[in-house]
């Protein structure tokens, strides 16, 4: 058995306690180990992705127990893509946190960061529904620590809401898993797929309840509209580099929906037919609308970025909720884009907030204003889905995938109007922040603009810009290499919608 497959989980799980126990008083060593771990993670995930490129499904049986009884990690194109995305997002975010000195403003940033990565990697790799829950808890408990990193009243208050909401989500997850287990007698995803397909007709009621509860859990994580309330105040009050890392956490929800509702409750399964399509799409449309309006109405930069993230989740979930192969391919392309774009927006928001405070008000030009406003402009057009960046291509793919769907005019209207409102909101914020200030008399500006509470870190602030340009480079690369990227996304979607290979490999039917 190839042990590389478990490395993305084990590596951060070893580095994090090492950072806590051995080097907790040496900031530079913490930074070195944390960075080394993330770089190594990127290398490992790229290697794994290269192995998954030809469409083989690789299974890692923990403790060498065969699949329905033991826990398995599964690598296919989708999970390979997600772990590569995670590690490539973590690298600039960590660079930013180090460069801006966020990691010095509270204890144990690096250890929590590693635990968070461990949870995310595990959630993407696991092939067992209960283990998905466990990895959700790992990533959540690390995110609770990161969310209140560096303290402050509002951050704690937002943290309480965030924790309570997610704990409720976790209990709902357990209820859903219990229901599924009581019907099928298994929690291994591949085994569930087999069992659900052959469930007797009289048991489908319970199964449908379980499926809907599971969907609710993932909708909470993905901040689908009626369940999105935790996100704006949590992300807006979290340290911005942490919020940038959280950009992948909403995608964990989207990933789980995509995985579970193609593998287990696929479109062709009788028992749960029509369950998800009925209300996932309207909810996703509303999510996009609410996100766009939130961007327009935000008075603080953090909230603007948070609502931008919600809007992009709306577009992503619209594509996912169609449950067709072309739509899933569009969703995967847009998923990569929106993760990078949302993270970039959070980091740029932090650059502004470090210098001018959190409010979107006309203020005097700040240091490095040209560079920051250019970055803000790039992040805004990326998130709103304007050409030339990859958001435009992603949205085009999503729009293109709606052919033959009944609600297609509605989808077109909401996506296009949502993009328009988002770009207006971004333009409003950008012009208030970067343009209006040039006309202000200095004393007027002093009364309206509070100086930032934290003084700028003494070290040269090049690293934050390196991080931002790294993310922007990722977006540009995604645009330039849109051809190969969409081909990979299409291959991934094809693999998702023909899950037989996945099931057979996991259950060992085609024994090697």
């Amino acid at each position: 058995m190839d042990h590389l497959l478990i490395a993305p989980v084990v590596l951060p799980a070893l580095v994090a306690p090492f950072i806590i126990m051995a080097v907790r008083h040496h900031l530079d060593l913490q930074r070195i180990f944390s960075l080394a771990s993330v770089v190594l993670l990127a290398a490992v995930s790229l290697t794994l992705a290269a192995q998954a490129l030809d469409g083989t499904v690789k299974v890692y049986e923990l403790g060498d127990w065969p699949a329905p009884f033991g826990i398995v990690l599964v690598l296919d194109r989708l999970s390979a893509m997600m772990i590569v995305l995670t590690s490539l997002l973590a690298l600039p975010v960590l660079l930013y946190a180090i460069g801006s000195g966020w990691d010095t403003r509270g204890a144990n940033f690096h250890a929590l960061f590693q635990f968070q990565l461990m949870g995310i990697m595990g959630a993407f790799l696991t092939g067992d529904a209960f283990n998905l829950f466990v990895f959700f808890e790992v990533l959540l408990i690390a995110s609770y620590g990161l969310m209140i990193h560096s303290g402050g009243t509002r951050r704690f208050q937002a943290g309480v809401q965030y924790v309570v909401f997610n704990l409720l989500g976790s209990t709902l997850f357990l209820f859903a898993l219990g229901t599924l287990y009581s019907v099928t007698g298994t929690l291994n995803m591949a085994d569930l797929a087999v069992k659900v397909a052959q469930i007797p007709a009289e048991d489908t009621a319970l199964l449908r309840v379980g499926a809907v509860m599971l969907l609710l859990v993932f909708a909470i994580k993905a901040s689908l509209l009626p369940l999105h309330f935790w996100l704006p105040s949590a992300y807006a009050n979290a340290p911005m580099p942490v919020a940038a890392l959280f950009a992948i956490m909403t995608k964990v929800g989207a990933y789980s929906i995509l995985r579970i509702y193609t593998l287990i409750f696929g479109p062709e399964v009788q028992a749960t037919a029509g369950l998800t399509e009925a209300w996932l799409l309207p909810a996703a449309l509303l999510t996009l609308g609410a996100g766009a309006i939130g961007v327009l109405g935000s008075k603080k930069l953090g909230r603007l970025a948070a609502f931008g993230a919600i809007a992009s989740m709306g577009t992503l979930l619209i594509a996912i909720s169609l449950f067709t192969q072309t739509a899933a391919a569009a969703a995967l392309y847009y998923l990569v884009h929106s993760t990078l774009a949302a993270a970039l927006l959070f980091l740029v928001a932090d650059l502004v907030m470090e210098r001018q405070g959190p409010w979107i008000l006309p203020q005097l030009p700040m240091p490095q204003t040209g560079l920051i406003s250019a970055l803000f402009f790039a992040a805004a057009i990326a998130l709103a889905g304007m050409p030339p960046l990859s958001g435009f291509l992603g949205k085009l793919l999503v729009l293109d995938a709606t052919r033959g769907v009944d609600l297609a005019p509605w989808i077109w209207a909401v996506i296009l109007l949502g993009s328009l409102i988002t770009i207006i909101g971004m333009a409003r914020a950008g012009s208030l922040l970067f343009w209006k200030g040039h006309g202000l008399p200095p004393e007027d500006a002093d009364t309206s603009a509070e100086p930032p509470v934290d003084t700028l870190p003494a070290r040269p602030a090049q690293l934050p810009f390196v991080a931002c340009f790294g993310l922007l480079g990722g977006l540009i690369a995604l645009t330039v290499f849109a051809g190969p990227a969409t081909r990979y996304a299409e291959a991934t979607a094809a693999q998702l919608f023909t899950p037989t290979a996945y099931i057979e490999t996991v259950l060992g039917r085609t024994a090697e």
């Binding site: 620590g145 976790s170 509470v453």
Partner: protein
């Protein structure tokens, strides 16, 4: 016994949700604990209820056994929920100590005032 277990799960959940909707840290934490108890009992019951049956297979004689997997799941869930309760207590305490208010709702903020970002 089924009625007893089912109503226990239902009442615990209902009470928990009621307490969480009170929006004060202490009732919320209490409510969360009640819901986690409810979910533990529920998980325990998903392997079918059987009294006085061992959770192991005996290959030498034909005895009834109860499904061991839900018990393992419950064990994991209990550990996780304990940890989570500890975390939420600490965060709620931090929020209370710094704001002198145990409401879990976010206070309305006014422009330019009182930000600690």
């Amino acid at each position: 016994m089924e009625l007893l277990v089912a109503s226990a799960v239902g009442i615990l959940t209902a009470a928990g949700i009621y307490l969480i909707l009170r929006r004060r840290s202490f009732p919320v934490i209490l409510g969360l604990s009640l819901i986690t108890y409810a979910v533990n009992v529920f998980l325990f019951a998903t392997g079918r209820l059987a009294t006085a049956a061992p959770p192991i297979l005996n290959k030498y004689e034909e005895v009834a056994y109860t499904d061991p997997l839900p018990q393992a799941l419950v064990l994991t869930a209990i550990v996780i929920s304990f940890g989570m309760t500890a975390v939420v207590v600490m965060i709620a305490l931090g929020a209370y100590l710094s704001s002198r208010d145990d409401s879990t709702a976010m206070p309305v903020e006014t422009e330019g005032a009182g930000d600690d970002a």
